[in-house]
Amino acid sequence: MGRTLNAEVGKFKPGDRVTVKFEDRPGHLRTPWYIRGKTGWIERVHGEFLNPESLAYGRDGLPKKTLYLVAFNQSDIWGRTNNADKLLVDIYEHWLDPAGN
């Protein structure tokens, strides 16, 4: 399946605060619009996977990209909510910056 489940990869570690890039470019983008530009934290490192943004065009998906489970406060995403739940989204490393940059 082209996947390596390995938590010892990638430049971010669980607990690191990250901001999702607000990118908008042509092509198959694997990060939903509503989460772009938002700040959360790394919940889990899933491992390395073939890049779906390359696979979408029949290419080989290499180099592999580290995929993270990223957590956000619901109130940071939707505003006007006292909901204490987290929102969890799978996001590839090339979509993430260290928070504050």
Binding site: D24, H28, P32, W33, L55, A56, Y57, G58
Partner: protein, 103 residues
């Protein structure tokens, strides 16, 4: 660029999600089978199917049901990979229509 027609998470006005059980039609089960078979043979990948749906005409995308989008994506990918031509698909459709279509 703007947000794609497929990328509607969090948009207001969508209303509540219909959570009633849905009975699949035979053609929808067949669409799933064709999709699985093409994947198992390495002819297409899920990411290509997603990209094909994103590239569709937005009005057509919104008008289609879930499995209609699947079928349209499969058609687009098979044509793109030169496995079938649009003419071949249209010819077969006319054959089916003559055989089983409304008189």
């Amino acid at each position: 660029m703007a947000r794609g027609h497929h990328d509607v998470g969090g948009l207001p006005g969508a209303g509540p999600i219909d959570q009633t059980e849905y009975q699949l039609s035979d053609w929808e089960v067949l669409a799933d089978a064709v999709n699985q078979a093409l994947g198992a043979k390495g002819i297409k990948r899920t990411d290509e199917m997603r990209r094909a749906r994103e590239e569709m005409d937005s009005a057509a995308y919104r008008d289609m049901t879930y499995y209609e989008r699947w079928i349209a994506s499969i058609e687009a990918i098979l044509i793109e990979k030169n496995i079938l031509t649009k003419d071949e698909i249209d010819r077969k459709l006319r054959e089916f229509d003559a055989k089983w279509g409304e008189p």
